[in-house]
């Protein structure tokens, strides 16, 4: 009896290990790259996947190079891809297997994001995996300098500027922080926050008078912004070192501050401008390259990632929220609670003006971002004339829209054919 059990156990163990070594699905991702998150993805999220998964987080350089090499060679080891919407949008959709037939076991997936995953075709080239957004965070020490009558959960850009000015006056330091470093997500601020809040558009209104007003406001904010911001890419670092008291960034790039010192920081919605409170989601997706070595296993892993329990585990590991219908538990990490509250307030605000992710740009997504980053570098860092820069950059933007034929997305009014720069 005893011996039999031992033997059974041993054979089972052997079967398990060999099985795992053969069938382990390579999960090739650009997300959850910080080493602790990678660790959590492996230990807490993927450990429950029976066939075993090898989670490898990469910079976009190696990520793309490896993927393209496998596609060109027609022989792959990558089972599942994890990347942002923009990354998939830039790929050739024909290289991503159709996932529309995948049995997700009855979970309800956010329909807007599902639509994005079709990449403009009628096939499901990627499935939404998780979502996040950009919010504001502040050190509680800054709260006493809030302008008279300002509600932190319903700030306007003018109040944010006044607040940052007041903090500077009181401390002698510029304490607003903005991720303008090389890896910072500054372009998303202009596309999803500043432009929608001031011009109610992104492309159509690029060089409008309202856009000039938006950049003037940003210039005013910049005058109270920590001058080291051009080196900042993860605002949690500067919040923790207190070089910065008020900051804008991606929820997962603020998470460290809330998790390390939960009592010292508050999270709150992005400010509102004349045309509402612009904000934008971040969507990461899961896809299977057509070269996947074992399609069935890869599909099983994608289905596993979409399970409500896995989505919650992913939330804990990465600070990215679920994209399926699921009740959030109460015992989430402080960063998740803080970010969740702020996002809820932001999207529930009366003046909410949500933007969508750029769609239809294909591999011009990077060029599209560069238009906004270049405008920032020329106007704010280079001190050039706003009107002249916008007119100049508008030509580049218009060329991109004409070349890709991308139609307008919210908050721009819909267009027939390529979205025009007006």
């Amino acid at each position: 009896m005893n011996l039999q059990n031992v033997l059974l156990g041993a054979t089972a163990a052997v079967a398990l290990t060999t099985g795992a070594a053969q069938a382990e699905v390579l999960f090739w991702s650009t997300q959850a790259k910080p080493i602790e998150e990678t660790q959590a993805m492996r230990d807490q999220v993927l450990s429950g996947f029976d066939a075993g998964a090898d989670y490898q987080a990469n910079d976009s350089g190696p990520f793309l190079t490896r993927l393209n090499a496998e596609l060109q060679a027609g022989d792959g080891t990558i089972g599942v891809l994890g990347d942002l919407h923009g990354g998939f949008a830039a790929m050739d959709a024909a290289n991503l297997a159709d996932l529309s037939g995948l049995d997700l076991g009855g979970v309800t997936v956010n329909p807007t994001f599902l639509e994005l995953g079709k990449l403009g075709t009628d096939q499901q080239h990627y499935l939404p995996w998780m979502q996040a957004s950009y919010i504001m965070a502040a050190n509680k020490k800054a709260l006493e300098f809030l302008p008279e009558g300002a509600d932190i959960d319903a700030l306007t850009y003018d109040q944010l500027i006044a607040w940052s000015a007041a903090v500077e006056e009181a401390t002698g330091d510029k304490k607003f922080g903005f991720p303008a470093g090389p890896d910072g997500l500054k372009h998303r601020f202009f596309q999803g926050y500043l432009y929608p809040s001031y011009t109610d558009g992104v492309v159509r209104t690029f060089k409008s008078d309202a856009a000039v007003g938006a950049w003037e406001a940003f210039r005013a904010l910049w005058s109270h912004t920590n001058t080291g911001s051009t080196n900042f890419s993860f605002m949690q670092e500067q919040l923790l070192s207190e070089d910065v008291w008020i900051a804008f960034d991606h929820t997962s790039r603020l998470a460290g501050a809330f998790n390390e010192r939960p009592d010292d920081f508050v999270a709150f919605p992005a400010p509102a401008g004349p045309t509402g409170r612009g904000f934008m989601p971040v969507v990461a997706g899961l896809a299977i390259p057509v070269t996947a070595p074992d399609m069935a296993e890869a599909e099983a892993l994608v289905a596993y990632m979409m399970k409500p329990e896995t989505q919650i585990a992913t939330l804990r590991a990465t600070n990215f929220f679920p994209v399926v219908d699921v009740a959030l538990p109460d015992d989430l990490p402080p960063s998740v609670r803080a970010a969740g509250d702020a996002i809820a307030k932001m999207s529930g605000a009366a003046d909410a003006n949500p933007g969508l992710l750029p769609a239809g740009l294909g591999d011009k997504g990077g060029d599209f971002n560069r238009v906004y980053v270049d405008s920032f570098e020329r106007i704010i860092l280079g001190g050039q004339d706003i009107r002249a820069v916008l007119d100049d950059q508008a030509k580049v933007l218009d060329a991109i829209m004409q070349e890709t034929g991308a139609v307008c997305w919210a908050p721009d009014a819909p267009s027939e054919g390529a979205c025009p720069v007006e």
Binding site: L26, K33, P34, I35, E36, T38, Q39, R42, D43, D54, Q56, A57, N58, D59, G61, P62, T65, R66, N68, A69, E70, Q72, A73, D75, T77, D183, F234, Q236, E237, L240, S241, E242, G256, E260
Partner: protein, 279 residues
């Protein structure tokens, strides 16, 4: 010099000269070591201290960050892989590079300049751009995800160092030394092994150091070309940039240590044959 008794002023000059000399050496050592010391402080600090201001200049010996890496799955395998790849790179680059270095220093031949430029081209073009066609080639030939395959790519990076360093050292060895050996009955080959080879040990050591550290610190090819057999930098380095500060420093420190151990091990060969006359 010692035969003449130097006058007092001369002695003073010498003394202050020696002092300056020593001071310069100490200063340069400090210049190198202080930044490393800062890295060490931050490695041995708790997350709060890493973010604090002003920074402490004495480490508090908090092992939290290092423990995190000690428990990180796959660290040891990655370390082993890195060492294997680095050693292969070292052997391959010297085996391929040293003969070419000898040829460059001893012969004038047609296409010499062209060959030299070819060697240098490999360092003047960024590897991340070459990685795509290389990866396709490797996948097709089965070199993909092997330590040897990665070592071959790293060898390409190390070869210019191996060729040029051995070239410059062979050039420093008087050809008459070899010719003398020939007249004494040595063949070109035995003259080489008996006379030249012992002299260029420092060059081999220098090439080896470069090959090792180039391979050790290379991230991009390692990240693209290895999956199961990740090397330590591919495993660690590319995630450092996005990691919290305290882990950034600890990870950086962990990567530095093995390279330092290696340089320490071979340093004495840099001096193996200090001055022909000293033998």
């Amino acid at each position: 010099m010692t035969a003449v008794t130097p006058d007092v002023a001369h002695a003073d000059v010498r003394k202050s000269g020696r002092f300056l000399f020593r001071a310069a050496i100490v200063f340069l050592c400090a210049w190198v070591l202080v930044p490393i010391y800062f890295l060490l402080i931050n490695t041995l600090s708790s997350p709060e201290t890493v973010n604090a201001f002003p920074k402490s200049f004495i480490p508090e010996f908090d092992m939290g960050s290092l423990t995190f890496f000690a428990n990180f799955a796959g660290m040891l395998t990655a370390l082993k892989n890195s060492v294997i790849v680095a050693c292969l790179t070292m052997v391959l680059s010297i085996a391929f590079g040293a003969p070419a270095g000898y040829a460059l220093s001893r012969f004038d031949f047609r296409g010499k300049e062209l060959f030299r430029v070819l060697i240098l081209l490999t360092r003047a073009f960024p590897l991340p751009l070459l990685a795509l066609p290389l990866a396709v080639l490797f996948i097709r030939t089965g070199l993909d995800d092997t330590l040897l395959g990665l070592a071959l790519v790293h060898t390409t990076l190390a070869i210019p160092f191996a060729v040029l360093i051995t070239f410059s050292l062979f050039s420093g060895i008087p050809i008459e030394l070899e010719e003398a050996a020939w007249t004494l009955g040595c063949t070109r080959f035995t003259a080489f092994t008996k006379v030249v080879l012992p002299l260029i040990a420092p060059g081999i050591a220098a090439s080896a150091i470069f090959a090792f550290v180039i391979s050790w610190n290379e991230v991009f090819a390692a990240a693209v070309l290895t999956i199961q057999n990740r090397t330590l930098p591919a495993f660690l380095l590319q995630s450092l940039g996005t990691s919290p500060l305290h882990l950034k420093f600890a990870g950086g420190f962990i990567l530095v240590v093995p390279a330092l151990v290696f340089i320490f091990a071979v340093r004495k060969y840099l001096f193996a044959m200090w001055g022909i006359a000293n033998r």
